[in-house]
């Protein structure tokens, strides 16, 4: 009776010490053994319990490994499907197995990434958090591959295999990225910066000057809400080239929200800030640039962001209607030729580009607006 009680005591003694040093189970066992080496019987009981624990832990580790790398499993699954299932033959094959290349590159990336960044906890943490999303994305590609290439359930003209879309991205790279995207980027940036500058100038003028507000405000209120693309018939006639016409349209779509948000941002600045700055010796011009505009910055950025989104839309429409170049035009042209693999490739380029631009924009904004309460996410 007495020994049994003691044995229970010993086991209880051992478990917490094992739990505490889970990183070095061997060490834990030895120290536990040392404390347990009081009576033979107790030693036996505790050792068996330890062995059972260790076993269950290794099983947990395996499951944990699988759990923490669902993306890799998803990629492997896609590879198996692509390599082991025969194509239906209803889709023209690509010159090379691009989808396999893509999956292999992804596989290397997703297995190496956690190893390369094993010391950077925060990056790894973010990566892990996105694991499910990445895994689902590859699963989606996998299913798409099954529906298009393998069983061809979807009409092959409108739904090409991932292989063929990737083939366009690789083989048409120069034309798609350098020529078309380059031309679009030139148009977009010219229009965006012209429109943003004009919007800031009119917005600041309306915000600070009664006269400017009197003349410009009604003009903005009447002309602003007209969708820029509705101007296309007039603009195409009024401008010497379609390119300048398109720049104007993009600028117009950025100008309106930027102007409205800038002026309302400035008008909403608490008067107390102007009063304080004037008692500190700031004159009018200094107040405009060092009080009014900084205080209006959050709203100015909102305006610029809506402007950017509107400019993407205008750019695509302008290219599909008038300008004989650019990524929007490319998509339009390929659609007419029923080359849907090229259409999807164009869409992917657009998505990646606009996503990157918006991300960059927000990074820039967060940099400028660090001072805002609750805005310290990078």
């Amino acid at each position: 009776m007495r020994t049994a009680e003691k044995a229970i005591d010993e086991v209880q003694l051992c478990t917490p010490c094992e739990a505490a040093s889970s990183k070095a189970p061997k060490e834990a066992t030895t120290t536990c053994e040392a404390t347990c080496e009081l009576e033979e019987k107790t030693l036996e009981t505790s050792e068996t319990s330890l062995v059972a624990k260790a076993e269950s832990k290794s099983r947990v580790n395996l499951v944990g490994l699988l759990n923490s790398n669902r993306t890799v499993i998803s990629i492997l699954l896609a590879l198996v499907v692509e390599l082991d299932f025969a194509a239906s033959g209803k889709q023209p094959p690509a010159d090379r197995p691009y989808f396999v290349y893509f999956l292999l590159i992804s596989l290397v990336f997703f297995t190496l990434f956690p190893l390369l960044f094993s010391s950077r906890k925060s990056i790894l943490e973010k990566f892990r958090e996105k694991d499910n999303f990445y895994a689902a994305s590859f699963l989606f590609l996998n299913v798409l591959n099954l529906l298009t290439g393998k069983f061809t359930v979807l009409p092959p003209i409108f739904f090409p295999t991932p292989d063929r879309i990737l083939a366009v991205l690789v083989e048409d790279f120069h034309y798609l990225i350098i020529v078309c995207l380059g031309s679009s980027a030139k148009l977009l940036f010219s229009g965006f910066f012209a429109g943003a500058l004009a919007g800031l100038v009119t917005g600041i003028a309306i915000g600070f000057s009664k006269t400017a507000s009197y003349w410009l405000n009604p003009a903005i209120k009447i002309l602003g809400p007209i969708p820029p693309t509705a101007w296309i018939p007039i603009v195409l006639v009024a401008f010497p080239t379609t390119w300048t016409a398109a720049v104007f349209l993009v600028a117009l779509s950025v100008w309106f929200p930027t102007s409205v948000m800038t002026s309302s941002g400035i008008l909403n600045v608490q008067n107390a800030y102007f009063e304080v700055s004037s008692t500190l010796g700031a004159k009018r011009l200094y107040q405009i640039f060092w009080v009014g505009i900084p205080a209006a910055m959050p709203l100015i950025f909102t305006g610029l962001f809506s402007g950017a989104c509107a400019s993407f839309l205008t750019l695509m429409t302008a290219e599909m209607v008038g300008v004989k170049n650019g990524i929007g035009w490319y998509i339009h042209w390929q659609r007419q030729m029923l080359s849907y693999a090229n259409v999807y490739a164009g869409l992917i380029v657009i998505a990646v580009t606009f996503y990157s631009l918006i991300t960059l924009f927000f990074k820039f904004r967060d940099r400028i607006l660090v001072w805002q309460k609750g805005m310290i996410k990078w």
Partner: protein
């Protein structure tokens, strides 16, 4: 050095108790405010007129500490804003050192109840704002740390305003106003939002700064104790229309105690003027 200052402070307060006119005579006499028959009428959007101030007469000496006290709506803030130049008087004249006050200027600093630190600037740049606005930042860069140290915020220069406590923010706004070396500092309930202990600390801090920098200070407060503890003279105002009801001299030597019988008597007297004394027996002697 500190002791010497304290002694001179004591002495000047003592002379203040006897001779009515000249405070800190040997220091330069700047920061004299003359307010003559000042009235201010506001017109509300609905067309009605509000007389915020009526025929206010007040002469403030160089380096004097004046508190304005009175019920809400009696025109204390309006009077302060008139001196700051943020409002213009409907009639009457306001002068600083003989020159009429037109518009705000760095020589008349103003601190509000809300610190109104510029949220887009860190504390260092907030304090530096006046220097930059007056285009003397290049020459007087080092002043910023000096004034941050003066208000005990040297370590917080890089911090943005929303990370500061109320008391710290108020001290920062005090430093921001002081860095311009104003001849007059106007304080509109600067300590109103602070807890009792921070408040008493800040009162001492303000007194220290006043004696060090020889600044004329006009402060609005709702706290009678604060008014007595700080001021040379207390201006008691009454509303509808806002006017100066009484100007009381505070003859106590400095540093002051908050608990002397005289202090409590004066307190009672002020509350009586404002009709907040409750039931009070007339003191048997005049203060």
């Amino acid at each position: 050095m500190v002791e010497a200052l304290n002694i001179s402070e004591k002495l000047s307060s003592d002379t203040l108790a006897h001779g009515p006119k000249i405070y800190e005579k040997d220091l330069e006499t700047k920061g004299v405010i003359t307010i003559e028959a000042v009235s201010k009428v506001f017109s509300h959007p609905d067309g009605s007129l509000v007389q915020a101030l009526k025929e206010v007469e007040l002469n403030i000496e160089s380096g004097e500490f004046i508190t304005l006290i009175g019920p809400s709506g009696c025109g204390k803030s309006t009077l302060l804003r008139l001196i700051a130049g943020l409002e213009t008087a409907t009639s009457g004249s306001l002068c600083l050192d003989g020159k009429p006050i037109v518009g705000p200027d760095a020589e008349r600093g103003l601190v509000f109840q809300n610190p109104y630190l510029f949220p887009w600037l860190n504390i260092h740049n907030n304090v530096a704002f006046g220097l930059k606005a007056r285009r003397v930042f290049g020459k007087e860069k080092d002043e910023v740390s000096k004034y941050l140290e003066l208000v005990g915020l040297l370590k917080f220069g890089k911090v943005y305003p929303h990370h500061l406590s109320g008391g710290m923010a108020q001290r920062a706004s005090l430093a921001r106003a002081l860095i311009n070396k104003p001849t007059v500092l106007l304080l509109d309930e600067p300590l109103g939002a602070l807890d009792a202990f921070t408040r008493m600390n800040m009162q001492d801090e303000i007194l220290r700064i006043r004696s060090e920098k020889h600044i004329t200070m006009v402060m609005v407060t709702h706290d009678v104790d604060e008014a007595i503890y700080l001021s040379h003279r207390i201006v008691v105002m009454t509303p509808t229309p806002g006017k100066v009801e009484r100007i009381l001299k505070v003859p106590f030597p400095r540093p002051r105690s908050r608990n002397t019988p005289d202090f409590l008597l004066l307190r009672g007297k002020i509350l009586e003027i404002l009709h907040f004394a409750g039931h009070l027996e007339e003191p048997p002697y005049q203060i």
